[in-house]
């Protein structure tokens, strides 16, 4: 009898790229392909031309050669930047998709929280959705009935249990969805970034439940961009980069490695010429970057260090009154601030007309301003009341790690998008308190 819960051997997954933007394959394409296939085979045999059908370039390995083991009862963190293959790994382990090569061995019932509320139907009541969602997650009806009251109590929706969930607030909806998933009681729990949604109170509750699960001796695989959550919940972590497992160590070491080697690098959004509509001319966006205090492009930054944001662009001809700026939003879409490069009156005067050329507009978000979490940067280039040349509402996502931020001695999520260092004074007042009746 082995004490392993999960063992993977050279696990790999290949995807066709451009899948999301590519239009759906149609019968006609397939028929046309089939009809010309013999000809193309013949031609490529003779010409040795690298024809598209033999070209592996339109396929990409989202995960390659990943071998690791997880002991029963171990809580393992998985870190890596966006697109490193974390979600693909979880999808394979939770059987949503098949590996392309290699294999995984799993001992025990797997519960996956790749997303809460899967299969929730807006027209159904909370009660009905609990049963439906429970069944989708693999619970037996008897099991759902046994845990029903507990789920409702955890979600704090007692009085709305017979209301259709479309009338729920987003907070209620999330609480209910998480409550069902949290009561699945699997031997192996696979969790993907559920904490990116919901308010602080909800996140605190999720984290609490997660550490309960971990302490009950169950096996947990935990993916998050929230380094402090990873640090708190897991004892060991693996680092993925470009689909490969590059490092495995006790969590604090793994996080240091991840932050130090610039694996968290991304922090950049570039626009290719095919992504820019003709209407932006003469403005041509090139890139948006965030840099840490060492000047490295990264997608995990520290809230206690200043962050440099730069927008690179070219002007084919001069534009008068141009302002290039950023919006910062939370993942829930709340605006944190808006700022333009000509906000400052001197710059405004100086660039009344911006001549053609290649530019970088750069600004610094001060240290100790933002709270930890994920943020979205949007770009806007416009001339006030004249024309909006370019706008991308979802240009770049980055993560802020709150290590060292004020109040970190308490392991709680702080409300609000900002987390300033304020100067508090605590004075003892030497006057007796008089109570006025």
């Amino acid at each position: 009898m082995t004490d392993l819960a999960i063992r993977t051997e050279q696990l790999g997954k290949q995807y066709r790229i451009g899948q999301t933007t590519e239009r759906y394959r149609t019968l006609r394409d397939t028929l046309a392909n089939a009809a010309t296939l013999p000809w193309r085979v013949l031609r490529s045999t003779f010409k040795r031309s690298n024809h598209q059908m033999f070209k592996p370039a339109n396929r990409i390995w989202a995960l390659r050669d990943v071998s690791f083991e997880v002991r029963k009862g171990q809580v393992l963190g998985i870190i890596g930047r966006n697109g490193a293959g974390k979600s693909t790994l979880l999808k394979i382990l939770s059987r949503v998709t098949e590996p392309t090569e290699g294999y995984a061995e799993i001992r025990g019932r797997v519960g996956s929280l790749l997303e809460v509320g899967t299969g929730f139907h807006p027209e159904l009541t909370g009660r009905e959705n609990i049963y439906l969602n429970g069944a989708i997650l693999g619970m037996k009806r008897a099991e759902i009935e046994r845990k029903f009251d507990e789920i409702v109590a955890f979600a704090e929706i007692e009085q709305f249990i017979d209301t259709p969930v479309k009338r729920y607030s987003s907070g209620m909806y999330l609480r209910l969805a998480f409550a069902v998933a949290a009561h699945l009681e699997p031997e192996i729990l696979v969790v993907d970034e559920i904490l990116a949604v919901g308010d602080a109170e909800f996140q605190r509750k999720c984290l609490g439940k997660m550490s309960d699960v971990a302490q009950e001796g169950r096996t947990v695989l935990f993916v998050s961009h929230n380094m402090s959550a990873i640090l708190r919940l897991t004892e060991e972590a693996i680092v993925l980069d470009k689909g490969r497992l590059v490092y495995r160590a006790p969590t604090s070491q793994a996080i240091d490695y991840y932050m130090a080697t610039g694996l968290s690098q991304a922090g950049e959004r570039t626009w290719g010429s095919d992504q820019i509509p003709a209407s932006t001319a003469p403005f041509c966006p090139i890139a948006l970057r965030v840099r840490n205090s060492q000047g490295l492009k990264v997608d995990v930054l520290r809230s206690v260090e200043p962050i440099t944001v730069e927008v690179e662009y070219a002007l084919a001809s001069s534009i008068s009154g141009l302002r290039v700026g950023i919006y910062l939003m939370t993942m829930r879409g709340e605006y944190v601030f808006t700022s333009f490069d000509t906000d400052n009156p001197q710059e405004y005067e100086r660039f009344g007309v911006r001549p053609a050329g290649h530019y970088v507009s750069r600004c610094v978000i001060p240290a100790n301003l933002l709270n930890e979490g994920r943020y979205v940067l949007a770009v806007n280039a416009s001339a006030f009341r004249i024309k909006r040349y370019f706008q991308d509402e979802n240009a770049l996502v980055f993560n802020l790690d709150g290590t060292g931020a004020p109040g970190k001695q308490w392991p709680e999520a702080r409300l609000g998008p900002i987390r300033p260092v304020l100067e508090w004074q605590i004075n003892r007042v030497n006057e007796p308190v008089t109570v006025i009746n």
Partner: protein, 285 residues
């Protein structure tokens, strides 16, 4: 994902024809129940007439057919008043057509489930097909009421003619479901990759209505074409349904055998095709 304690699960790429994995389907039988229940529950929420639609649609179809083809209700194929004749054909046909429409699109409609959670994907089209049975049952009661009414009032000389064949009625319902599921498995799996299916579906059900003995009796088809005609499994279903319920003459024979054979082949090949395609659903959908 449900697995027994201490059972080892191997995840590896499948090559060639995958086994059907009916055991997994059995483990997830409750999910079929819950999804069917959801489909039924949701169907008539926020509608004005609710479940009355299950009656209204076939009744209106029957009225139209009777006006167009029934010569005002006087014509009586096989001695059955035309409204009863056409309504008895419409019931199993609508069950089939509705199942096809719902199940064919079911995978794409439930994409969020497919990309996030594991379960045997085949439960989705199965639940969609079963979801139509309630509508069928409601319309069936209307047919019974009509038959009793026509018989009591002797409309068109109609007499209730219940034979022991009525006990085979559930078998024909089963054949309709098997046919619907077989075709749905093919179409729903294809729909994931080829959205063309969305355009083909309404055309298919429209065409099928005329290729099935609903507005006319199958005896109108020339004898030499009868076997070819029966390759449409719904021919066997509708004929058998009328035979069992109305006591019409053309009882089960070679045509029914052909229909059953086609239905079973479509179901089995459909299950293998579905299993084959299933492995990439989450990536392609």
């Amino acid at each position: 994902m449900i697995t027994k304690k201490d059972e080892v699960l191997f995840l590896r790429p499948t090559r060639g024809l995958a086994a059907l994995n009916l055991r997994d389907l059995w483990v997830y039988r409750e999910l079929i129940y819950f999804l069917t229940w959801r489909d039924i529950l949701v169907r008539y929420k926020q509608t004005l007439l609710g479940a009355a639609w299950a009656v209204l649609v076939p009744v209106l179809q029957m009225v139209v057919f009777t006006l167009l083809f029934g010569e005002g209700g006087k014509s009586a194929p096989d001695g059955i008043p035309y409204p009863i004749f056409s309504f008895a054909g419409l019931l199993p046909w609508n069950l089939f057509a509705k199942a096809l429409g719902d199940a064919g699109r079911s995978l794409v409609m439930n994409r969020s489930m497919i990309t996030k959670v594991y379960f045997p994907r085949v439960v989705i089209p199965i639940a969609s097909v079963l979801g139509g049975v309630l509508d069928f049952a409601i319309a069936f009661l209307v047919l019974l009421v009509m038959m009793v009414y026509y018989s009591i009032n002797q409309v068109g000389g109609y007499r209730l003619n219940l034979t022991p064949a009525i006990w085979t009625l559930p078998l024909f319902l089963l054949l309709a479901l098997v046919t619907a599921l077989g075709v749905s498995l093919w179409l729903s799996a294809m729909y994931v990759i080829y959205r063309d299916v969305g355009h083909i579906l309404p055309f298919l059900t429209q065409l099928g209505l005329f290729a099935t003995p609903i507005i006319y009796a199958s005896s109108r088809v020339p004898a030499k074409w009868q076997i070819v005609y029966a390759l449409n499994p719904m021919v066997g279903v509708v004929d058998g349904f009328r035979w069992a319920l109305l006591g019409t003459q053309n009882g089960p024979g070679l045509m029914l055998i052909v229909s059953v054979g086609v239905a079973v082949v479509v179901l089995i090949t459909g299950m293998f095709y579905f299993r084959h395609m299933e492995r990439t659903f989450a990536d392609e959908i």
